[in-house]
Amino acid sequence: MDEREHIIEVKDMVKKFGSFTANDHLTFHVEKGEIFGFLGANGAGKTTAMRILCGLSYPTSGEIHVAGHDVYRERERIKRKIGYMSQKFSLYEDLTVSENIHLYAGIYGLRRKQIAAREEQLLERLGLSHIRNRLIREIPLGWKQKLAFSVAIFHQPAVVFLDEPTGGVDPITRRQFWEMIHDATEEGITVFVTTHYMDEAEYCDRVSIMVDGRIDALDNPAALKQQYESKNMNEVFLKLART
């Protein structure tokens, strides 16, 4: 594919913490509109890599472009075009649902009328209109998760980064969540998601599997299963981890 279509372009990315190498010469790209799964065990270096892509961390070396901008020199520009959802769902516990929406929307530069309109749509879709004035700390985890995601894409970024977004929620909610992710890509948003739940890999267009700071596999799930003669991604991962 033409390089210019790659929404994320990474060449030889290295991140060291002292003598410990968290990311060892990673090279990959992410295409526009795809769901890209960044898999690996805990401690493999996924979150580190993602933080670099978001502009939260400096890379030690490597060429990295996100949404058409260089991560070294144009970090602030990148931030305007991306969304982010952290493991902790990072909504303000002591603000209401509506207030959180308005806050983040305002930060990304949306006008009040725009916000109001989109907010209505969003709450309708999630079925949360009745709790718009409830404080975040009072709503159940599943709703928080969906809300956090919606807030992350509220300003319609080019890419949204999700760091282990399904931790601690029940399987049904997880399913629903992935449906939301799918819907987002239909609107043209690229989704970059890290997870250690291997079964979620099936939902992705392409996945990469990180082991000890390196990418040991990168392809769509079907191809990987064939390559490693496995029935599911879990097996693929186990086989990789063993070698």
């Binding site: 502009g55 991306i82 990072s90 303000y92 207030e99 305002g106 530069g109």
Partner: protein, 372 residues
């Protein structure tokens, strides 16, 4: 800046949702102001004294009556046995012994060197010094009076007397309270401002929402400003509140321009909150931050001249005070409130703090890392 406005909205909402805020802003300072202003006095009254009179002369009795008539002293014991008096001293029943020895009057009359002994409990050196000074004053006045009376030197034209007239400006009743109150007001405004700001920042760090903020296009200075302005406003409000309390309860004079005072306070708050913010950029936990802030606050406060005059400090300490913003504010608030000093009088402090504020805020903003 719309982003700043959005952030400010959020901050204010969060602050006022915190149920502790109201009591912290109103009740606690109020209680502190009242209680502590009354406590902080260095004046001494009713110092308990034991008199050991081994002379029983007219002179000795006159001397003692001078002490009896003084509001500074309260005679608890009169005896001719020195040991008895000393026992009272060691058991803390009296603080000073006046020892008139045998032959006191005779020796005076004969023009000899006459000794009078004072034994002062000097564990608290300041109190001892004051006690000594008061005693000396009373004894000297007794001395001159009796000298003049009994020898008629006044008429003989050989003795010259000097009249020393003290005049107390700005505070003729020598009300120590207003001095102390202004000091305590400074402390409260500073504490509330600085602590709240710093705690807020670190709390976000601990909650994890800072990361979410760092990922957005919010600029560092916007973030810091949004953390600063709400608390600055609260602190200014605190100042107004305190001034009102001071006026109503203590008759705090407001001689100078309130506008000037508030303007100066703004600059001061920028500095102090800036220090708080800077400290929070170098702390990882609320605990660390609290201890650091406490340490600096305590040191700054003690050195600022809140309880004891800054001018009395050794030179090296006064030099360190150049970096102590509280010292500036302490000085200026008293100058404006009690003496009516104007801008020209405080311009040096104003400019110094202005520079300090710019420096520390820049440092805080630079040090705040959106990217690590």
């Amino acid at each position: 800046m719309r982003i700043l406005f959005t952030l400010l909205q959020k901050e204010f909402k969060q602050i006022f949702r915190n149920k502790l805020m109201l009591p912290i802003i109103f009740v606690v300072p109020l209680v502190q102001m009242i209680l502590l202003t009354y406590a902080a006095s260095l004046e001494m009254k009713g110092i308990s004294m034991a008199v050991v009179d081994q002379d029983y002369s007219q002179a000795s009795r006159q001397l003692v009556s001078h002490f009896e008539g003084s509001p500074f002293f309260e005679i608890k014991l009169t005896t001719s046995n020195y040991q008895e008096a000393e026992d009272e001293l060691t058991s803390d029943h009296v603080d000073v012994i006046l020892h008139v020895q045998h032959d006191f009057e005779k020796s005076l009359y004969e023009g000899k060197q006459t000794d009078l002994q004072l034994v002062v409990n000097a564990i608290n050196a300041t109190e001892a010094g004051l006690t000594n000074a008061y005693c000396t004053q009373i004894i000297s006045s007794f001395n001159s009076q009796v000298r003049a009376e009994w020898f008629g030197l006044e008429g003989s034209g050989k003795l010259t007397t000097l009249e020393i007239i003290p005049k107390y400006w700005y505070n003729p009743q020598l009300d120590f309270k207003i001095y102390m109150f202004s000091g305590i007001l400074v402390i409260i405004v500073t504490l509330i401002g600085m602590l709240l700001t710093a705690l807020n920042l670190v709390r976000e760090k601990e909650m994890g929402t800072t990361e979410q903020i760092n990922v957005t296009p919010i600029r560092k200075y916007q973030f810091i400003m949004a953390k600063l302005i709400p608390f600055m406003i609260i602190a200014l409000f605190e100042l107004a509140f305190g001034l009102m309390v001071g006026r109503l309860l203590f008759g705090l004079p407001i001689v100078g321009s309130l506008g000037l005072l508030f303007l100066f306070t703004c600059v001061y708050l920028l500095t102090v909150l800036g220090i708080g913010l800077f400290l929070s950029t170098i702390s990882n936990t609320q605990q660390q931050l609290m201890y650091m802030a406490f340490f600096f606050m305590l040191t700054f406060m003690l050195m600022s001249g809140v309880f004891t005059p800054a001018e009395s400090m050794p030179i090296w300490a006064q030099k360190i005070n150049i970096f102590n913003p509280v010292a500036y504010f302490m000085k200026v608030i008293r100058m404006i409130l009690l003496k009516g000093s104007g801008f020209m009088d405080i311009r040096r402090e104003f400019y110094s703090l202005g520079i300090y504020a710019v420096l520390i805020l820049s440092l805080a903003i630079t040090n705040y890392r959106k990217t690590t």
